[in-house]
């Protein structure tokens, strides 16, 4: 590979081997869990207790600490899914396919959370649970894309074929991601414009922004944890006839 240091290439080559991934993630898990707690506890405390009330919305705005990180994650995970799907298609790396499909249900959950929390906030603030504006509609389409990915994967028995089909669906659906992000700028929408992710200075007071960023990082770590847990199960299931899984089971039985 060009422009990538050898050490990085070697790391990815080793990680792509299922037994190595399985052993490595087992050691990684306690660290990730610790990091998650380190982020979510101050994030929630800061967001729900320390941060001041908003000048217009009062305390109702605090749903931002769930809604916005969940919405960011719904986009981020979809991109991860499309990229790993592409890697799986081009290089036929089994682990990339496993990461792709293990991300789908986590992403679908975050999308669902973003839609529900937005709706709960919308009723008192906008005066309606739901409107068909560009932002809300494109985010709903994202949920359907996730559900499509999960459904398609389940519908095909041969998991390598299923991964290829799913990767193509994920890659085509990726056009929806910039649409969601820019929908509030390209069209008139009821949903407000971006607060943090814009070129300008964020339009949120720093005392409210810090917990929000902590929550965003916590959600990201949570995704990695959830994805790895699912990926390990998927991997063992797929490789159930291979030698390393058999010896793994033998070890478990002895213990």
């Amino acid at each position: 590979m060009f422009l990538v240091p050898d050490a990085v290439v070697r790391f990815f080559h080793r990680m792509a081997s299922p037994p190595h991934f399985y052993a490595f993630t087992e050691k990684l898990m306690p660290w990730l869990t610790g990091l998650f707690l380190l982020l979510i506890v101050p994030g929630l405390y800061g967001g729900l207790y320390l941060a001041p009330a908003d000048y217009q919305q009062g305390d109702s705005y605090r749903i931002i600490y769930i809604h916005v990180p969940a919405a960011w994650m719904s986009l981020f995970i979809y991109v991860v899914m499309a990229v790993t799907g592409g890697i799986g298609l081009i290089w036929r790396i089994k682990l990339a396919e496993v990461v792709m499909i293990s991300s789908a249900s986590v992403g679908a959950s975050f999308t669902f959370i973003a839609l529900v929390t937005g709706s709960l906030w919308g009723k008192p603030m906008w005066g309606t649970w739901w409107v068909w504006d560009a932002r809300l509609t494109s985010e709903l389409i994202l949920l359907f894309l996730y559900l499509g990915v999960i459904g398609l994967y389940g519908a095909i028995d041969d998991k390598r074929t299923a991964s290829k089909a799913v990767a193509i669906l994920a890659l085509v659906g990726v056009v929806n991601i910039p649409i969601i992000h820019y929908s509030v700028e390209w069209w008139n929408t009821l949903h407000q414009g971006p607060t943090v992710t814009k070129m300008d200075k964020p339009s949120i007071h720093v005392s409210m922004l810090v917990p929000l960023l902590l929550m965003a990082l916590a959600f990201k770590v949570y995704y990695i944890i959830a994805m790895i847990l699912r990926a390990r199960v998927e991997l063992v299931q797929r490789e159930r006839n291979s030698q390393w899984v058999k010896s793994l089971i033998a070890e478990e039985v002895v213990e």
């Binding site: 001041p52 931002i64 603030m125 005066g127 409107v131 560009a134 085509v172 008139n188 009821l190 414009g193």
Partner: protein, 149 residues
């Protein structure tokens, strides 16, 4: 890179670009339908539908909110900082409705050019701050006109 992989890479890149271009054209042709509301300028210029329900969005002009009867009817003016439209609405207004706030009204235009709203939604802006900060911002000058929605 092996030729087979390179071919797959090119194929996938072309597929994503193709899907992107197709979507861009589709969105471009449906652009008007994707707009959630019309700004007051379009209404004054006669670009908004005459006999159909549509949505009108803009900022409530400061000092324009009045309650002519003793009922629930409220009348106010909406602006996009170019043109103004008078809106009449009977019902309960959302929490965030106030002067200087962006709103979206759903209704139809009367022959006199008054917008009769059946539903009023508040459009929140992207600014979040504690009350003290908002107070200190207002002191030096009235909050600037800001962006039209």
């Amino acid at each position: 890179m092996k030729p087979a992989r390179k071919q797959r890479l090119i194929l996938i890149t072309l597929m994503v670009i193709g899907a992107g271009i197709a979507t861009a054209f589709a969105l471009k042709s449906f652009n008007d339908n994707l707009m959630y509301f019309f700004p007051p300028t379009d209404v004054v210029d006669g670009k908004a539908p005459k006999d159909a329900l549509f949505r009108l969005g803009g900022m409530v002009i400061k000092g324009s909110v009045e309650r002519p009867g003793d009922g629930m009817m409220v009348r106010f003016k909406l602006t996009d900082f170019k043109k103004e439209v008078t809106v009449e609405y009977t019902g309960i207004l959302p929490d965030l409705f106030r002067e200087g706030q962006g709103i979206v009204a759903h209704g139809r235009l009367s022959p006199q050019g008054v917008f009769i709203a059946e539903e009023v939604l508040a459009k929140h802006d992207e600014n979040y701050m504690p009350p003290e900060v908002a107070g200190s911002l207002k002191k030096p000058e009235a909050p600037s006109a800001g962006k039209a929605q």
